[in-house]
Assembly symmetry: C2
Homo-oligomer: 254 residues x 2
């Protein structure tokens, strides 16, 4: 039986200010909860309609967190999903250290300027994980990483890819413009050189802009190259997560 | 002022059986409604909180459909969106003729086996439009093209890409296996040859499977090649619309 305080805490984590206050976030579904447990994130508590799944953990007595059996009705009450999926976990947020800029020259890093749709951010994180990208740098006005819809759309990749929020203009200006770091900065726009033609280094920063406004002017001027995915039809644009996938595929092409 | 019958019709179109019965579907938002009007789909009626946008059509008197001014409150009442967007249209479904199989050898065509998420289907249609793909062939158990969430996610591409529903096994068996048509059939799986290595013809059919079960066994056996997007990280899979984008990008690469 869930206590009033447990219910209050869990339900409050749908809101950013409460997630920030408690330093926690929600994860739903047996598969992604299992990924949370196996990750280096710290688990606060797990609630499940089928606790038998957690017997190995309970037997091993190596769990530092609480596991509570709950009814379907209780799960419905605390879940943010239309169709709750057996298990829900409260996980502690992790402080991610911003990587030293000079180390970014040897790897591919995504930079997101104002992504607002949680599903898109989550799918981009999942895509980054697929392509072995370790870091994503987001502008401060991007949607919150710990928004439940972001977390669900990552399908567990939230526990493997580091996502950082910075003032993009300051961060790029301070680090990149000096050029001592020699990290190439590519901006994906609708008017750049074709990704199939632009000589790309396969490494560096790739900036993707917001769904409705693209990359902000101040950020765009700090890029070395503008690149585009060639269009063969009449759609005005690609979904931003699809665009991220196509660009990553091209950068990772051997 | 909306009549009860108008409200009843519009609201009923959220359900597939009513869409099928009336042969109509919903489109929301001024931009996509404008695309509907400019397309060769037949418009049944338009409802808007700002009819001034339609003055050119009204003045031209060339509209064969009804345009009604409605209040914000009325729009909220008939809209399926959380945040209704000024204009809503009822559009007649269009019978799309299945292209002759032999004509598919000279172009790229997507084949979807059991896609169930409306956002994914819509995003795939948008992606296909970007890459100049004219036809998408769906298995009969795929989500309905005219589901409002599919239509919205296409961002207008629903009016340009033809989407057909067939019994995939029968359709492939009848047409492809004979090989007289010489249309190459590629199946995207997690265990195929890298899309960067497999010699691809740039044309033919590319099959993508459902979000949870992949391509069904019966369909898979009818493919000529299995291809995969190489993974460089730890994500179990890519989102299906992202995968479609990466594969289309590779097939369209010159």
């Amino acid at each position: 039986m869930l206590s009033k305080n447990q219910i209050k805490l869990i339900r409050s984590l749908q809101q950013k200010k409460c997630r920030d206050l408690h330093g926690m976030f929600l994860v739903e579904g047996i598969k992604i909860v299992q990924e949370a447990i196996d990750s280096d994130f710290e688990i606060h508590s797990v609630y499940s309609t089928d606790c038998s799944k957690f017997i190995p953990i309970l037997l091993g007595q190596n769990s530092k967190f609480e596991i509570s059996g709950i009814s379907e009705k209780e799960l419905e009450h605390i879940s943010g999903l239309k169709t709750p999926n057996e298990t829900l976990a409260v996980v502690r947020q992790k402080k991610q250290e911003l990587p030293d800029f000079s180390t970014l020259k040897n790897r591919l890093t995504l930079v997101l300027d104002g992504i607002s749709d949680p599903g898109n951010l989550g799918t981009i994180i999942r895509t980054a994980d697929w392509f072995g990208i370790e870091n994503i740098i987001c502008s401060e006005n991007s949607v919150d990483l710990y928004n439940p819809k972001v977390v669900q759309a990552t399908m567990g990749s939230v526990f493997r890819v580091s996502v950082h929020y910075v003032n993009l203009v300051d961060w790029l200006k301070t680090n990149s413009v000096s050029k001592t770091a020699s990290v190439y900065v590519y901006a994906c726009t609708l008017k750049g050189k074709s990704i199939y033609e632009q000589a790309i280094t396969k490494k560096g920063l790739v900036i993707l802009g917001s769904e409705s406004h693209g990359i902000s002017k101040d950020v765009l001027t700090l890029a070395d190259y503008q690149i585009s995915i060639p269009s063969f039809g009449k759609a005005e644009s690609l979904n931003i997560a699809v665009a991220a996938g196509v660009v990553c595929g091209e950068f990772k092409r051997s």
